[in-house]
């Protein structure tokens, strides 16, 4: 596989630009069930249980949880410096979107299936919400080689 960066089109939800390691969740996310001290997912049975979302580009299907807790969860993570750097979502929901806008976390959606087939945990990716581009800069697999 070539080490060329792969740039893909997306749709801007909340503006901004960030770069970080990808962390892919197959389950919906509730930020309230993440420990703000260390960014570890504490939700029992969650696909990311025990994993750290701090500083990551979080790739996940949708938000969940009551209208109250999502914003508080993300606020606490932001204040403690353990929030994800950017969010890539498949199905935006109002609660997630409003929380991210208020907390200034870049959010994009409408990535092609190709993105989801390509992206893996540990890939270095850049989310440029303002230009509506997501770029996979470095594949984790190649780094191991």
């Amino acid at each position: 596989m070539s080490s060329q960066a792969i740039a893909m089109k997306c749709h801007r939800i909340a503006g901004g630009k960030a770069r970080g390691e990808a962390l892919v969740s197959t389950d919906d996310i509730c930020f309230y069930l993440v420990d703000p001290q260390n960014g570890l997912v504490i939700e029992k049975g969650h696909a990311l249980e025990g994993q750290c979302i701090a500083g990551k580009v979080l790739v996940f299907p949708s938000g969940k949880g009551s209208s109250v807790v999502q914003a508080d969860g993300l606020y606490q993570l932001t204040m403690k410096g353990t929030a994800p750097k950017a969010l890539v979502i498949e199905r935006p929901d109002t609660v997630m979107v409003a929380s991210a806008i208020i907390m200034n976390v870049p959010v994009v959606d409408r990535l092609d299936q190709e993105f989801y087939q390509t992206v893996a945990n540990g890939d270095e990716i850049e989310v440029d919400a303002d230009s509506e581009l997501v770029t996979i800069l470095k594949k984790q697999k190649e780094e191991i080689k």
């Binding site: 949708s62 914003a71 606020y75 109002t94 979107v97 409003a98």
Partner: protein
């Protein structure tokens, strides 16, 4: 997004910085969802949380001079004066609740402090355009009344109350209200807590979209309240239909707006039983019973009072409810009965608030999966049972 001249002026700051922030959030939400314009609302409910983020945002709007055009009802924090009499409240938590009260008063909210406004003083008509946050409220509004609201966040609902508008998208539009997944309920729903379990176990099976339930007859308001609260906690279900029960589902065909279901799932007694076991802590000695997520109604309070009358509770028993229900319970003698048994009934308070320090690290019983789910952050363990079984456990101090 196309804004009216007045909306554009709100965004540009002509009505003050607070209004401008509110409009900015709403325009961003609207653009995210492809809304073409704003639409006026006539009701709102804000799920204030009495937590830092919520307070930070409300104070930001207030200091920017914002005042609600549509006065929203608001969610509970905790009843400071009551809890100071029975447990210790830290100076920080006292300060946050006092500032929260002050901020929402200043912004012009209707200070109900209840999570069930749709049963009390904020009741819509069919088709009314509204902005409701709070997980039990949003599905109730859409599904049971046929009013229209998106699944607003506490903050986006507050913005809507301030601007008097919400972006026109999602569940405000006919096409998005159609059923997508057919859910055949084969499980027997014996009491209101079975509706909670149904609501909590359905989203994983449904996966996405608007569920249409069949096999549910004559549900009580409490059953519907529980169903919506749990559907919207375990998943992000903004609206559901029940064929023959909810107003946009007179028939199966009406619920699906003439289209075929995209998916069909079945829910059995075994599904509910397995869900209860998965969520529940192990049985044995318990320290407390917790009710009121969502706030209990007067008929639920009446049943509990009947069960504890003349008994002495071995475990603490807490009922959270609205101020109206507390007043009614007081008039009807239920507050005395519950107090004499050693229990508490308190208004303006939520199970997920910093007023329960004395219960941290302890084990309780509750009828609400939502209560058990959110309090994980507070290191509280719960066994899930129906309300009568929970009350029985509180009387005996243990749960089988």
């Amino acid at each position: 997004m196309e804004l009216t001249p007045e909306e554009q002026q709100m965004l540009d700051g002509k009505y003050g910085e607070g209004v401008a922030i509110a409009m900015k959030v709403q325009v961003a939400v609207g653009e995210a969802f492809g809304a073409e314009r704003m639409i006026e609302i006539s009701r709102a409910h804000v799920a204030l949380s009495n937590q830092e983020a919520d307070l930070w945002f409300a104070e930001k709007l207030v200091s920017g001079g914002a005042r609600c055009r549509i006065s929203p009802t608001v969610n509970p924090g905790f009843n400071l004066e009551y809890f100071q009499g029975v447990t210790e409240i830290s100076p920080e938590d006292e300060s946050v609740i006092k500032r929260t009260r002050a901020a929402y008063k200043a912004i012009g909210a209707t200070l109900t402090y209840s999570c069930t406004p749709y049963l009390e003083e904020n009741i819509p008509r069919f088709g009314e355009i509204t902005a409701y946050s709070e997980s039990s409220a949003t599905p109730y509004m859409n599904s049971v009344y046929g009013a229209r609201t998106n699944r607003e966040s506490a903050q986006s609902a507050l913005c809507a109350a301030v601007t008097g508008r919400t972006p026109l998208y999602g569940f405000l539009l006919d096409a998005n209200r159609k059923g997508q997944v057919l859910v055949e309920v084969q499980a027997t729903l014996r009491d209101d807590s079975d509706y909670s379990m149904l609501g909590y176990c359905a989203p994983k099976k449904i996966g996405f979209g608007v569920p249409v339930f069949t096999g549910i007859d004559n549900p009580s308001p409490e059953g519907l309240m529980n169903l919506g609260a749990q559907l919207n906690t375990a998943g992000a279900v903004t609206m559901y239909h029940i064929v023959g029960v909810t107003p946009e589902a007179r028939t199966l065909e009406a619920a699906f707006q003439g289209e075929e279901p995209q998916k069909r799932v079945v829910i059995t007694d075994q599904d509910l039983q397995e869900m209860r076991q998965t969520l529940s802590a192990s049985t044995g000695k318990i320290d407390f019973a917790m009710f009121g997520c969502p706030h209990l109604t007067i008929s639920q309070v009446a049943r509990i009072a009947g069960q504890v009358e003349g008994k002495r509770l071995q475990a603490e028993l807490w009922i959270c409810t609205s101020f109206q229900t507390k007043e009614l319970a007081s008039r009807m003698g239920f507050v005395d009965v519950i107090s004499q048994a050693g229990g508490h009934i308190v208004e303006d308070s939520c199970v997920d608030q910093p007023c329960w320090h004395h219960l941290y690290g302890k084990k309780g019983v509750t009828d609400s999966p939502k209560c058990a789910y959110y309090t994980k952050r507070r290191n509280m363990e719960f066994v899930l049972r129906s309300i009568p079984e929970c009350v029985d456990a509180a009387i005996r101090g243990e749960v089988a």
